[in-house]
């Protein structure tokens, strides 16, 4: 899995990296185009989704969609009220944006891992990672912004002196000047570590959870591929060495179509079962079924992780900023 990286080549020209080595060689001044693209697309979908409700928002009878959006807003608002004990017009919108945006970015993980990259490949783009939160740059970018906000609010509320006092006056406290002098450095060291640990843990927690989740999806896909090698051999004789991705897309789509027809009542259960069996045998036998089931199971579990991590990021941001607002 390689990000689509835009940066300066070794020869001085700017362009997209063609390999992982080239991307690394570009150094710091390079950009993951895919990460930024999806982050911005998802950010705008958050904005338009909530904006479509906000524009028409009134105190009359809400539509179902408006209610759904309002439940999320209410939930975030309650969380902020419970955890943040200052008055700020900024914290609640920040929390809402982080929660929904991160949830959307995480949610991209539940789209089968190779579909969108395959589409990108068809369009001539060879590297594509569609889940921005599996890119450490994205998560650290957000957590560092939170860090800057922590510093900003700490200094604005407590003043520079107050903030320095907070960094150097604890955890070892002393009333005498000599004691203060002695504890100055250990306190500064410990408090600085504690301070730096906030954004690092915040960003890496999100990244780690999502990256691991994606890896497990890939792992399941690999197991399933190995298991269905027999059928794959048969398919290879049909399609040549590489089975095109659209075949898998088609197969999955046909399975979903069958299930959908069953749900619509247009197919009875017996026919549905037979049809599913035939479809699965055709594209990968029981390994396919096993793979599908494992994917499904992990996707359900991952759905919890996706939501939970978005929530944790939001809550910790609120808590950190609340701490920045409080005097010790």
């Amino acid at each position: 899995m390689q990000n689509l990286t835009f940066g300066q080549h070794a020869d001085g020209t700017w362009g997209l990296a063609h390999s992982a080595e080239e991307a690394t060689a570009m150094g710091f001044w390079a950009f993951h185009v895919d990460t930024l693209f999806w982050a911005v697309v998802l950010g705008f979908s958050f904005y338009f989704l909530f904006g479509s409700v906000a524009r028409k928002a009134n105190s009359g009878v809400p539509t179902r969609f408006q209610s759904a959006i309002e439940i999320i807003v209410e939930f975030v608002d309650t969380s902020v009220r419970e955890s943040f004990h200052g008055t700020s017009k900024f914290i609640a919108p920040l929390a809402l944006t982080l929660f929904v945006w991160i949830f959307f970015m995480n949610f991209m993980d539940l789209i089968p891992v190779d579909w969108l990259p395959w589409l990108a490949t068809q369009a001539g783009v060879h590297y594509q990672k569609v889940v921005p939160t599996t890119d450490v740059n994205a998560t650290m970018g957000m957590s560092l912004t939170v860090f800057v906000l922590i510093l900003y609010y700490s200094i604005r509320i407590k003043g520079v002196g107050g903030f320095i006092a907070e960094l150097t006056g604890q955890p070892f406290a002393s009333n005498s000047l000599a004691g203060k002098f002695v504890f100055f450095l250990p306190n500064l060291l410990l408090e600085t570590i504690a301070l730096i640990a906030k954004p690092v843990s915040l960003g890496l927690r999100l990244f780690g959870n999502l990256y691991a989740g994606e890896l497990i999806f890939i792992l399941i896909a690999l197991i399933f591929t190995a298991g269905s090698g027999f059928i794959a051999a048969g398919l290879s004789s049909l399609f040549g060495e590489h089975i095109p991705a659209w075949f898998w897309v088609l197969a999955t789509a046909s399975v979903f179509a069958t299930l959908w027809l069953n749900l619509q009542g247009k197919l009875d259960n017996k026919k549905t079962l037979w049809l599913l069996l035939v479809e699965m045998l055709l594209v990968g036998g029981l390994a396919f079924l096993g793979g599908q089931l494992m994917h499904f199971a992990w996707a359900v579990f991952h759905l919890i992780i996706v939501t939970l991590q978005a929530f944790i990021f939001m809550m910790l941001t609120i808590v950190y900023l609340s701490m920045a607002h409080e005097h010790h």
């Binding site: 928002a57 740059n137 957000m142």
Partner: protein, 156 residues
Amino acid sequence: MNINATLILQSIAMMIFVWFCMKFLWPPLLKAMDERRERIAEGLAASDRAEKELEAAKATVDQQIREARDKAGEIVDQASQRHSQIVDQAKDDAIVERNRQVSAAEADISQAANQAREELRSSVANLAVLGASRILEKEVDADTHRELLDKLIAEI
């Protein structure tokens, strides 16, 4: 995993989205929700009030119905009283009238009887005088025997 300037752009993107949210999403949504909460609270209060008013109205209606029922009972009682009064009165009147008529009839009867008796008596006297004169073959002097005759008549 390369740390690169994506970090900075992501951070800028985040600030922009947060600013958008703070400026255009949060205030109208919260305003609408707060207004609705207020309206719902008002509606609930109004319904409570209406319920209380309904209770009061029901109590008034009950009271009025009870009063009306009492009044109706009173009227019926009065009517039946009056009815029996009228009936009694009529009965009394009838009795008085009957007695009056009976006594009048009795008076008529006794008068007629007396008259008949008088007539009978006088005719008996005449008959007696006539009979006596026939027997004696001579005229009985009516005046001379008046006293005797009257006694005779009274004895009849």
